[in-house]
Amino acid sequence: MSKPEATLEIAENEDRDATVFLAGDWLQGQPVPDFNDVSSQLGRMPSRLVLDGSSLESWDSTLMAFILQCHNYCHDHDTVFDTNALPTGAAKLLRLATAVPAHKPPKTQKPRWHPVRSARALVSRMGGVIRDSLSFTGEVSIALARLLTGRSNTRFEDFGHYCYQAGPNALGIISLTSILVGMILAYLGAVQLQQFGAEIYVANLVTIGILREMGVLMTAVVMAGRTGAAYAAQLGTMQTNEEIDAIKTMGISPVEFLVIPRILALMVTMPLLTLYANILGIVGGGIVAGGMGITPLQYFSQTEQALALNHLAVGLIKSVVFAVLIAVAGCRAGINAGRSSAAVGQAATEAVVTAVVYLIVADAALNIMFQVSLV
């Protein structure tokens, strides 16, 4: 048996009263009349609008949404809205829905785009970020000084856990990226060096390139995406759960308690990961060199000649600096995160983007510094 169709009929009398007769099933999934049918069929604005639901069979929110529109229409046009002939449940729900007057959100005028104003806003935003970064760096410096003087509340119970998270757990991804970077470097160099019959110098290129630059940089990029983002997410979630507020109200500095162990963990693990990445990068270069007819013995003998302590030191110094920058970027983003789940995601993104920018700038600055000091 098919369900009775939802219908409405409008009757108007000379007293400017209009009655809307509702009938049938007003249910989701059924075709129902539109409210615009009522407004368009009304000849002139009635002084009283009566809704008669005595012939309704069954109904759900579809009917209620219609009734609410009728109510709002009458309210806007100073028309009396009569619901006495509606089913009791519908009338009750309408009373509930209209008990609180509708909130009118404040009108916010979108300012017209103006180049000077936009530039000023951008500079102001950038200034804010720089100020926040400097302020956070200052707090970290003070916390480190307190740690060195033995006056810190730094919690070292989790230090081993942070080291494990940042170190051994990252070996897989570091292995993959390092071998591939070594191979890419060797391949790029080999194509050029072959033209001069100097393929053997691929070993020198790979060794110096990996030790001074690519080994540490690739490790840092991976750690920024992995550990930096994890720090931001952890601290961001703590901010959302009011854990950081709890730490502050206990009189403990969140920087000493949460940030310093993470920075130290990364400072310990990054040089070790860099060493590991260097070895695998050189091995990766050796694989490509093998394909060009250079024997493993020749490759590693040439590598030994190129391997100088200063190259190794440059990479390791960079790794410590990069570790601090990644940890600071991650922790700053987490501690300054908002209090929603979306804010945690934003903090993780900000941590990675900021860390990569820091890395590139710091790498350039360190390269210039080492060049000037002839290291």
Partner: protein
């Protein structure tokens, strides 16, 4: 109900009649919210079954489970509103997923649902931009978006001031009366229990089972279980229960 070998509640057996406002009550850590999660099909019971109109949810096919879920509305303890969506988008989501309403019809329904919970005009606000009480009401609006037959609430009054709490109770009662929905509510708010509850079950953390079942007023006046009477009269003759503490930490 168990997590591994750790039994949370056992030998639970009760009926909920259509149109009831059924209260699941008990001390902290007794397994109220866990029972609700079992009833919602989020966790399967380690033994036994939960039947809806005689049909087991856990043994139903995925399609049947979907159909059953569409008849339920759920309001979580913290609201569970999607923070990246406006209130209108939150409420429209189940309507878009499960109904054939047109876009403008969905807008009308959303406006009605928000008006119903006293939030008319708040369509474009994000959950983070409104107060905790308003968020709870918005969550209720989303829970009733599909005109559910059963409404589940986990601590609906938690964190609300007494007036907001009372208004929310009135709203739940009004919705139940108008739509004939069945309400299942986890709470230990005595005011709510007596104001709107028609039947209740008491879960005990010590014996790890239900120890009484009936109308809240009747349980308060006639329960033979001292702990139930104490709970419903807010009196305490014994100290904190170590069983409860250890369970709460699970």
């Amino acid at each position: 109900m168990a997590y591994g070998s750790f039994v949370i509640q056992k030998n639970l057996s009760f009926d909920i009649a259509r149109g009831d406002i059924f209260i699941i009550m008990g001390g902290s850590g007794c397994g109220k919210s866990t029972l609700l999660r079992h009833m919602l099909g989020l966790i399967a019971p380690s033994r036994g079954d939960i039947l809806y109109n005689g049909t087991s949810f856990n043994q139903a096919s995925a399609q049947q489970q979907d159909t059953m879920r569409r008849r339920w509305g759920i309001s979580y303890q913290t609201g569970g509103m999607f923070s990246a969506m406006t209130l209108a988008e939150n409420i429209a989501l189940p309507l878009q997923l499960y109904t054939e309403y047109s876009k403008s019809d969905i807008e009308d329904i959303v406006a009605y649902k928000l008006a119903l919970v006293g939030l008319a005009g708040y369509q474009r606000y994000y959950p983070a931009e409104i107060s905790g009480g308003m968020r709870k009401r918005a969550a209720l609006a989303r829970a009733i978006a599909l005109d559910p037959e059963i409404l589940f609430f986990d601590e609906p009054s938690a964190g609300l001031d007494p007036i907001s709490s009372r208004l929310l109770d009135d709203l739940i009662l009004e919705l139940k009366t108008s739509t004939g929905a069945t309400v299942v509510m986890v709470t230990h708010e005595l005011a709510s229990i007596f104001a709107i509850g028609t039947r209740a079950v008491y879960l005990d953390a010590t014996t790890r089972t239900m120890i009484d079942y009936g109308a809240p007023d009747y349980l308060r006046d006639h329960s033979e279980q001292l702990v139930v009477k104490e709970f419903l009269t807010r009196s305490a003759k014994h100290k904190f229960n170590t069983e409860q503490s250890s369970e709460a930490s699970q």
